[in-house]
């Protein structure tokens, strides 16, 4: 029997970390993820976990401490947002390059400047090529569930990559909502014990970690990272299958909501997917065949699978909560259109930049996108694919 609770997204993430009971947590507070290390440090203080909590002086040090801990053979976790992640940037690449399965809770927030503490996905998009597995979460429940699955994916010997679980700052991190929790013992059993193959504190096998890697090998090592990312797709699905057996909650690489017979579709990530589901239902009642594809696994990018899932629709809108500022659409849009092109899917697709810096996204705005798509679906080629949603024009 699961436990019926009500928690904010940050409480959900901290609860998952408590139940995982990692060896090391190193973190530095930053809005809106501050509460995660705050709650977690009380669990440490109350003796509810065995974790060594390292209160560092910066996010660069937080990631460095996680790298040191994982390299030594420990299971390490952290949490951050926006500029905290920016400050980690150097170490983010070192974590993935050293193939250390660190797990991070990333509470998405706009990266400065100008200074803004509210939600968008510019922090996550800034590290999308850093070799981390990236899972996105619509709700507090998904943030919790994704964290429970995280270590089994990251630590799999065919993967060995760090992993971040994203959720929307404030929108889910600070909203109290219903959630189904698992009992502590079930989480412990599901996550399992971390048994690293190679680690620094193994006196029987002296190893060097993170040495110089020049022309003769770096290329091959980067290829291995890419291979690990490709392998991760199946591992993510396998772990999800076990998780479904345990909880009844089904997870895939992405979620298709009324997409199988849809003529027009929105693609988005995180909390906006929930709002979109409500709009899809309203439009369906009016006889409009609207659907949603919610990306859960953004890295590795399920290109072939997404292209196939969208191949039958007549028009697609990709919603990006970060502007790539390249004049040619957001990052998710670029990935989706590339996936479709490579897989021979020709569907008129447009980019919508939305929700920047915490700008609220309403059902009316989502409905306006579907209205645009109805027009687009009548055309062979659309003239204005780079669009904005909820932008004030005056």
């Amino acid at each position: 029997m699961s436990i019926r609770e009500r928690l904010s997204g940050n409480e959900a993430a901290a609860t998952a970390m408590k139940q995982i009971n990692p060896d090391v947590v190193a973190a530095f507070p930053i809005t809106p993820s501050t509460e995660i290390p705050q709650y977690f440090s009380t669990f440490v203080d109350n003796g509810m976990v065995d974790t060594e909590f390292v209160a560092v002086e910066s996010e660069h040090s937080a990631m460095s401490a996680c790298i040191g801990a994982e390299a030594a053979g420990a299971r390490a976790m952290t949490a951050t947002s926006a500029n905290g992640l920016s400050l980690m940037w150097e170490m983010i690449y070192i974590a993935s390059g050293m193939r250390l399965p660190i797990v991070m809770s990333l509470v998405n927030r706009a990266v400065s400047g100008p200074l803004n503490i509210h939600n968008d996905h510019s922090d996550a998009m800034g590290v999308r090529d850093a070799g981390w597995i990236m899972l996105f979460s619509e709700t507090n429940q998904e943030a919790y569930d994704n964290l429970l699955m995280a270590h089994r994916i990251a630590e799999n010997e065919n993967v060995l990559l760090p992993l971040m679980v994203c959720q929307d700052g404030f929108i889910t991190s600070h909203s109290i909502e219903n959630i189904e929790l698992l009992e502590d013992e079930k989480v412990k059993e599901f996550v399992g014990k971390y048994i690293p193959k190679h680690y620094l504190l193994n006196e029987k096998e002296p190893v060097a970690m993170g040495p110089m890697d020049l022309q003769s090998f770096l290329f091959e090592h980067k290829y291995q990272q890419a291979e690990a990312m490709r392998n991760a797709k199946q591992v993510i699905l396998d772990v999800a299958k076990d998780f479904e057996k345990l909880t009844g909650r089904k997870y895939g690489l992405f979620e298709e909501y009324r997409l199988d017979d849809a003529e027009i579709a929105i693609v988005c990530m995180n909390s906006t997917a929930g709002t979109t589901k409500d709009v899809v239902d309203i439009l369906r009642e009016k006889g409009i065949k609207a659907g949603l594809l919610k990306v859960r696994v953004f890295r590795p990018f399920p290109a072939e699978e997404i292209a196939k899932a969208l191949s039958h629709v007549k028009a697609v809108a990709v919603l990006d909560k970060a502007d790539s500022l390249n004049g040619a659409g957001g990052a998710l849009f670029t990935d989706i259109t590339s996936a479709m092109q490579v897989n021979g899917v020709q569907v008129p697709t447009s980019s919508y930049i939305y929700g920047i810096g915490g700008r609220d996204t309403t059902t009316k705005e989502i409905e306006s996108v579907f209205n645009d798509l109805m027009e687009d679906s009548k055309k062979e080629k659309i003239e204005n694919p780079y669009r904005y949603l909820g932008l004030r024009k005056e």
């Binding site: 009500r6 503490i117 509210h118 929307d168 404030f170 929108i171 889910t172 600070h174 909203s175 109290i176 909502e177 219903n178 909390s271 906006t272 929930g274 709002t275 589901k277 409500d278 239902d281 609220d360 996204t361 309403t362 059902t363």
Partner: protein, 193 residues
Amino acid sequence: MNNMVEIRWHGRGGQGAKTASLLLADAAFNTGKYIQGFPEYGPERMGAPITAYNRISDTPIRIHSNIYEPDYVVVVDDTLLESVDVTAGLKEEGAIVINTTKDGEELKTLLKGYKGKVYTIDARKVSIETLGKYFPNTPMLAAIIKVSKIMNEEDFIKDMEGSFKHKFAKKPEVIDGNMKALKMALNEVKEVK
């Protein structure tokens, strides 16, 4: 979706509107509902106008946006009536609950012709009499339960006693006063005719 009740709170930073919205979410959760309780964070400063929201439903809540057409509005500080459009989007079949001592005529002008029901309560009086200090959020929480009827009053009182015992585990001396404030507020909230 059809059975969803949406509530918007207007208060000033430090008055506990956010806490009240979270307590309301808690109370509704304990009666088996699906809930959302979330503040709209701006610059967090004592005295600055703040907004908080509740959604309460019998079925899972998927929408993640602010509330623009609430069923109920709670105004924790009546000085906001002059600066904030508190009835914006408020449904006419809904109601507004205001912490004020102003009379009906005065409120009518301030509410710009809102046609739904208007309720008032002097939360300052309730709070001072029961708690000895001005904490308007506890009386306002009881007032919105009374007006919205999202749960019956007995269940609410019973549930809040549990919540306060948990919330104030380290200062049990304030539990009695808060319970008195809730009970008194249930009787003090009046419809403006």
